[in-house]
Each structure stands twice: as C-alpha cells, then as structure tokens.
C-alpha cells in the first residue's frame, strides 16, 4: 500500500519524524514499506480497508521509548494509533481509524511484572497475550484463573481496555482493571488509583484512589497510552458444574432470559451464560455450500433441516457454576426447576473438581479455533459484529431478535446472533460472516450494519464496542442534550492532547484540529 500522509503533515516532515522515531527505537522497529503498511491494515474488513490506511508503524520496547515517541509526535504533529497486539479482529484489528496515522505497536512490551496469588492479581504490559499469561500461570502452578475471550490471540490489556469479555465469574474484563500506568499525550507518566502514591502498598488492590478515578477514562478512549495494567484474577474454585441445553424454538430465548436474568442478578449464576443461535455451531464446523447454495439469507426451513441433522436446537445455552460442590449442586437444582416450567429438554451436566485436568473445567483456556466461523461463506472469509446492550428481559430480547433477523433477511445475510447475560443487561452479538472478495456481499454487510445502528438507537440500544468504520455513527447515537457527552469527551481530549496526536477518531472522539475528519 502506497504511503498516505497524515492530515496537516508534509512528506518532508513525515520523513523527519520517522528519522526521529528511528533514533528512539532503532531502524529495525520503524516499519514504513508498502508491504509493512499492508500488514497493519484491517485484513478482515468488509470492503472498506482502504479507509483506514496506516502510514507506518513503530515498535517500542519500554515505557521510556513510548514517552520519547509521543514527544516527537507532538513536535511534528504525527498522529499515533496505539495497539497492544493488534488482534482486535472484527473491529479493525491493528488498523487506525484515520488514514495516515502511524501505528504504535506495543507488542514487544510483554513483561509479566508481578503475579500475586494471595491477592489474586497480575501486573502486565500490553504485549502480554492470553496464551503468554496462561502459560506463566500453568508453568508456575499459580492457582489463579483467567477470563479469556472467544479468540485468544490478542492482548490481555488490549482486550480489557476495549471492554472485551470472557465466560468465568470474572468475565467482564474491564471490571478487573485495578491500577494503570499511562503515558499521557504530552509524554508525562501517571499511575492511576493508589499507584499515584509512589510507595503505595495497595495499587492493585483498591481501584479508586483519592479523588477522581481514572481507570475507565483510559478504556475505549484516546487520552493516553497504557503501558502497565493491574488486573484481578479469579482464585481457582473448588469445583465447577456446567449446564448445557438446547432449546428447539426461536422464541424460547425469551423465557430463558426471563428465568436466567434474576438468577444471574442474585448470584445463583455468577458467570455470564451465552445463549447462541445454533448457526454458530454449524458455521464453525461446516461451510454454507454444504447445505445451501442460494442467494440471500439462509431460509428458515434450510436452517431447521441443518439443526435436525446435527441434533441441535434453535438456541444453545451454556452456563457454568463455580465454587463449592454443595453450593453448585443447590444452584443447579434451582436452575433446572426454573427451566422445567417451560421445557422437557434435559440439561447436559459437566462436573469438574480441583486436581482434575482443566480442559473441561470452565477455566479460561486460550484458543483461536473460534476463527473457524469465517470459513462459512468460503473464499477469503471475514467477520464483523454488531453488539448492542439490551435490558435483560424477554420483551427487549424478543423484539430485538426478531427485528434484527428481519433486517438480515431483507438485506440477504445469514442471521447469526447470541445473547450473553450479565447481571442486569445482555450483550446481543450479531455476527456477519462474509467472503471478503465478494463485493456485492460486503456492500450488503456494510448497509446492514448502518441500518442496525439506526434501528437499535430508536429503541434506546447502544453498542458496547464497534468496528473503526462505525465509531462516529455509534458515538453520534449518544444524543442526550445535543451530544453533551461527546462535547465533554472532546473538551477533555483538547485539554490532554492539544496537538491531537493520539488516536484521532477513536470512539468518535476527534481533536479540535481534526474534527473535519469526522465521518
């Protein structure tokens, strides 16, 4: 990919900045060839990768190098897009929001600085991947469990900052953040919470510090570069008890949510059960052409036939209880009784006790096999997800499910949805899987995404996280008092980053000098 310069920057200034960056990190870690730029683009993009072209990439190895890079970027007004490991697949991966931005790749910063078993936390750098931390815990026989997302190729820090989630009782990863070290846009270094006290004895134990609490300000934002993160990890439980069930009808998701949500809120269920339509199971193991070759969305009757042949229900629910055996058994009885009011389907029960192999324990175990789904349409696959937050009731869930499925059918994309249940809300992930080389198909996907954002906003539903192509659309759907929150975010942006060098456009937040770039 040919060089696309950042806005406001001449080629001479750009080259001067690259020389200065080279002085900090060395020639080997400043990447700016045509092929290098391609490697940081959004490989899974639905036909719009050219909107997000990086101009170069820099790979620092230390906090001091990050500080030096930010100072140079200020001097030359070079925009930077920090990534932890660049595996934010389906959301833009390593690619920047604004073309011409230089990727600040932190994947070489991969020190596991501290793991404290007694208090259940770790302090890690952004390049530490889920596999890295998992191996460290296993090899050192540390009895702490991780919360791991479906695709575990990425960074523990990056995923928590983007508010990704896993499936253990510690599944809401951003909630586990306790204490950050952050390089501010001007190159200054801060520690949040109690870490602001140089000799603090409780940086990674107490989240709030004294005065305003900043950890969440640095999540999904462009106010600083996180170089260290304290993160709480879950003590290994004594036992787990898994309950899996297939529900045969599309509307069964309604009563299932109504039964499970109060149990989730009361703590009978402490993790976030996943309720997914069974196409996800089929898509991960077979290709569409094995079942249907027609255009448009997969017809319901074909899906029913597929499910029958695979002995699947319309929805699959997987939930897991963690803790003492007696308590798990009691909670399992409560859940089974709740379901028995609606269905004769039996739960599949999976039991694990401490000391047994953890493969099927419900512990977070990293894997990348989730990516199999992109093979569904054949060709060079890609995926993108639209994920609004809904109140956890049948009224909201059924309305959103039917409306979304109808939109998929109108536009001609196979419906693939799931509901992950938290205490009070459910995250409704709607996956779109496509062949990246089929321009008609990717155009449909982009159209569908825009329609879903607008439809959801009318119901008061907003996304928890989105692809870089839709950050402005989603940010603008937060419209209370004529977008007062966006004004606040951009007021803070201009105060912390007056030269507008850090991740312009991230989450729809643009610095003053670049607001004309807003989509």
């Amino acid at each position: 990919m040919k060089l696309v310069l950042p806005p406001r920057v001449s080629e001479a200034t750009f080259q001067k900045a690259l020389s200065a960056f080279t002085g900090v990190v060395g020639k080997e870690w400043v990447l700016a060839t045509d092929e290098d730029r391609e490697t940081f683009m959004d490989y899974y993009a639905a036909g719009d990768a050219d909107l997000h072209v990086p101009s170069a990439a820099i790979g620092p190895q230390s906090t001091e190098e990050v500080q030096a890079i930010l100072r140079i970027a200020n001097e030359h007004k070079i925009p930077l897009w920090p990534i932890s490991r660049g595996k934010n697949l389906g959301y833009g991966a390593a690619a920047p929001c604004m073309s011409g931005t230089v990727v600040l790749d932190l994947s070489r910063m991969k020190k596991i600085i501290d793991v404290n078993e007694r208090f259940g936390y770790c302090v890690i750098e952004p390049g530490v991947g889920f596999f890295d931390l998992f191996h460290y815990l296993q090899e050192n026989k540390i009895k702490l469990w991780m919360s791991i997302p479906a695709n575990a190729w990425g960074s523990v820090v990056g995923n928590a900052l983007e508010r990704g989630y896993g499936y253990t009782p510690y599944g809401e990863n951003t909630r586990n953040i306790c204490g950050l070290e952050v390089v501010l846009p001007n190159g200054d270094l801060v520690r949040t919470g109690n870490g602001a006290m140089a000799k603090s004895a409780s940086w990674n134990l107490f989240k709030y510090g004294f005065g305003p609490s900043w950890d969440q300000i640095f999540c999904q934002s462009n106010y600083g570069v996180v170089t260290k993160m304290g993160m709480w990890l879950m003590p290994e439980p004594e036992a787990t008890l898994g309950l899996n069930i297939q529900l045969p009808n599309p509307d069964d998701v309604g009563w299932a949510i109504d039964e499970l949500a109060p149990l989730r809120m009361k703590g009978v269920i402490e993790q976030s059960p996943s309720i997914g339509n069974s196409l996800r199971f089929v898509a991960s193991r077979t290709q569409r052409s094995e079942w249907y070759t027609g255009d448009g969305a997969l017809p319901d009757e074909v899906l029913v036939d597929i499910l029958k042949k695979n002995n699947l229900g319309w929805w699959t629910i997987n939930l897991r209880l963690y803790g003492y055996d007696e308590v798990n058994e009691a909670h399992a009885r409560i859940i089974k009784e709740a379901f028995a009011k609606h269905t004769k389907q039996e739960f599949e029960v999976l039991k694990w006790h401490r000391g047994e192999p953890i493969d099927n324990s419900g512990a977070g175990v990293p894997a990348t096999v989730a990516l199999q789904i992109i093979n569904w349409r054949g060709g060079r696959g890609g995926h993108i997800g639209f994920s609004p937050i809904l109140p956890a009731t049948s009224e909201h869930v059924l309305r959103q499910f039917h409306a979304t499925k109808k939109r998929y059918e109108e536009i001609g994309v196979d419906y693939y949805g799931s509901f992950t249940l938290f205490e009070r809300y459910t995250t409704n992930v709607n996956m779109m899987v496509y062949d990246r080389d089929d321009k008609a198909m990717t155009a449909k996907v982009r159209a569908l995404f825009k329609v879903l954002i607008a439809d959801a906003a009318k119901q008061g539903y907003s996304e928890y996280r989105t692809h870089i192509s839709y950050m402005d659309d989603v940010a603008l759907s937060f419209d209370f008092n004529n977008h007062a929150l966006l004004r606040l975010n951009e007021t803070l942006k201009d105060a912390l980053d007056p030269n507008g060098i850090l991740a312009p456009g991230k989450q729809g937040i643009w610095p003053r000098a670049l607001r004309s770039e807003r989509a």
């Binding site: 080997e28 870690w29 990447l31 092929e35 290098d36 391609e38 490697t39 940081f40 490989y43 899974y44 990439a57 790979g59 490991r85 660049g86 697949l89 991966a93 790749d105 070489r108 596999f131 998992f134 191996h135 296993q138 090899e139 997302p149 479906a150 695709n151 190729w153 499936y167 899996n244 996943s274 997914g276 069974s278 996800r280 199971f281 898509a283 991960s284 290709q287 699959t316 997987n318 192999p357 493969d359 099927n360 175990v365 990293p366 894997a367 990348t368 096999v369 989730a370 990516l371 199999q372 789904i373 992109i374 093979n375 060709g379 060079r380 696959g381 799931s418 992950t420 992930v429 996956m431």
Partner: protein
Amino acid sequence: MSEYGIKPDPTLLGCLTRVPLVMLMIACLAIAGAMARGRDDSTPKIEQGRKVFHERCGYCHLAGGTGTIMLARRLGKDRALLEERTDLTQEYIKKITRVGINGMPPHNRIEVPDGELDLIAIYLTRPASSRTSSGGAGQGATP
C-alpha cells in the same frame, strides 16, 4: 463454549502447555542425534526455527489449532500440519506470512521480525535427515 460456539481444543492446550518441556526433550534428542550422525551446521538454526515456530505460529498451527483445522478442510488431513509438510518452500512461507492467506491474517515485522521468519522457514523446509526423531517434526506436532 464461546460466542462463536466452539470449545477450546484440549489437544491444542496440551501442545501449548507442554511446549517448554517438550522443547527441552527435543533439544536433548537433537543434540544426541547430531552427535550420533556428525554435526550438521544447519541444526542449530533448525532448532531455533522450531522454537520460534512454536512461539509465533503455535497459536494456530499445532495439532488441534485453527490453522490446522482450516488446512485439513481445504487441503486434506495429510497436508494440515505445517511441521509435517515437505512441499513448502522458504519463499512461499515468507510471502504467505507477510501477506496472509484465506483466514490467516498477515504478520508484520514487529511481531515476527525478518530474522525470526528466516528461522521459521528454515525449520519448515528442513531436510529429510532432520525429520527423524532427532529432527523434531513429529514430536513438535503432537507433543
């Protein structure tokens, strides 16, 4: 299960968690093998390449990994495990790593520097004489 509906594969987990021990064992076997048949100058690079391959590519390309599953679906089981392939060239390996192929995204020169990619390519194209029990391919794939 996950939002994608797939359980982590215990085979892959076993591969990855046991890599350090296996690598140690294979390193010992490799040294013993080299001593037995006379030292080959390329052996250290093959061993380094195996280590780098496991670290950088093992997420997907060991037994049970997503790359192995996809290759089995597209090319057949006998061509699914990269460590067992004999039809790959160094140029092809390097190019595909940088540009990606099908579901596999490209790998940039920060996560896999050129020197490491050279070693991976040397390892995956090692001669038949290094593919015996002293060469490590079989053990590497299914430790």
